[in-house]
Symmetry: C2
Subunit: 321 residues, 2 copies
Amino acid sequence: MAVYTEIGDGELDALLADYEIGGAIACTGIAEGVENSNFLLQTDAGMFILTIYEKRVKPDDLPWFLALLSHLSDRGFPCPVPVRRRDGGVLSDIRAKPAAIVSFLKGRWPRKPLPRHAWAVGDALASLHLAAADFGPERPNDLSVGDWRPLAERCGPGADDVRSGLADEIARELDVLETAWPRDLPRGIIHADLFPDNVFFLDERLSGVIDFYFACNDILVYDLAICLNAWCFEPDGAFNITKARQMLGAYRARRPLSRPEFDALPVLARGAAMRFLLTRLYDWLNHPEGAFVTPKNPLEYWRKLDFHRGVGGAAAYGLDF
Amino acid sequence: MAVYTEIGDGELDALLADYEIGGAIACTGIAEGVENSNFLLQTDAGMFILTIYEKRVKPDDLPWFLALLSHLSDRGFPCPVPVRRRDGGVLSDIRAKPAAIVSFLKGRWPRKPLPRHAWAVGDALASLHLAAADFGPERPNDLSVGDWRPLAERCGPGADDVRSGLADEIARELDVLETAWPRDLPRGIIHADLFPDNVFFLDERLSGVIDFYFACNDILVYDLAICLNAWCFEPDGAFNITKARQMLGAYRARRPLSRPEFDALPVLARGAAMRFLLTRLYDWLNHPEGAFVTPKNPLEYWRKLDFHRGVGGAAAYGLDF
């Protein structure tokens, strides 16, 4: 929960003068989202989200993210639509920080995902991959397999304070992942962070996907492997094969998986667990005293990684090829 | 900024089934408000605020607060209107906590109040006092002059860690206030917490007053004295006599002040500064490590108190009787 940047009197009016959505009726800081400052903005033209980008997002990447959202929404994918300024641009400045206004998406993210949610996410993920297939500009994934070891090294010996021996276990697992990582699977735009709090549902239907600020070009089924981690484990750590079956089934009904893609799921899921383990570990070891945001326990992802390490093959996720 | 209570899947639908405002289209935790959990709730019928009351508000007081809001809004005062349930009530339960739905007020609170805002607040405060004049039920002020010494004693010697000698200075000031406190000025319902973040403006006009959870029966001009503290000092500590003149002028144009009320303003303003000094001091000394909410520095109110202590009479606030 976070609002880092205050909008001063007059600044909002000055901003909105550059758009064609009327004046502000209300602008309320919202508690969700830990990376940026987000405001629910009501104008004569309706409801919008105003985002002020804080330091975690690279300003140079913003045009790419916003162009991707425009591209996807043009193709009917339910994501936020950037609102164009009168001058045609989609980026503005507030207090020397970049800012954008996007459409407001109805719905609410599921607090306790059910198998039907997992189905809908698999279906939407395939739609996203297909809708983005003709998006030209590329953004490399800066949190992919080659980036994990440097990140682990930046965590340093602190990992062992989280769990004795963890630093060594991570190093050994990275040896395996770097060797086994698939090199020639179909690539494209992936969301790369499709957790439950980024997917809205309304009247039991998926109504929106938000937070594309990790989107990038990478192996398409790596996105599915991220979702297996994000949606298919219960709070007690148990893997829910019913949800996995629903998710994979819905995905491949819309975008069929090749045999190599299917077979790569366990190693990709291990890698996805490693990626979230490492960023959580880094945040855990480096969060400032008294920060607003309590870091999430990294060990949840060590346990997920361990599950994927133990499966005999992708069939463990509930479907045969 | 705070959302303390999560609303589970299905809980919102179950809650809204008790009302006649349709189903939830969106429900977003908002970052403002430090006492309760507040959500911007969009339904088929429009925008509302859903509040879940956390422990600082006494549940037994809630019917009084909500009845006051209904009374004021019936008389045209721009405050949140409690939405009635199908059974006629205005209180619900979420996760064993009391909850209410009220109308959403347009506008935005002024980050840098100007004299015109001070004028509008004086005008609205008088309207509030007049509109509440025929509200029957009473709620005593549990933060009035008789409550300050016990509160100061609960702060204990920690006050001296905030500023050397502060505990003694507070005790001596309380001796003065308890003796000088006026006993027979006109009483009625006061807001008692009318700070800038509780007053919304839209298109340069006051559009709403929120957060009545300190409202109570007390000396009417004590409310004006609170507003002098809340609105008429600059960030650097300087008293802005222009704002005070606007505020007092607007107030008495709508509700004329008697001579005793006018003359009591300096001591009431000292008392108001003491009240906020003490609650801030208590919160400063007692906030939990790593809490979301950073307590406000209590010394700001010691300096305001000192200003009021130094004035020769109410004319120092910009108007002669």
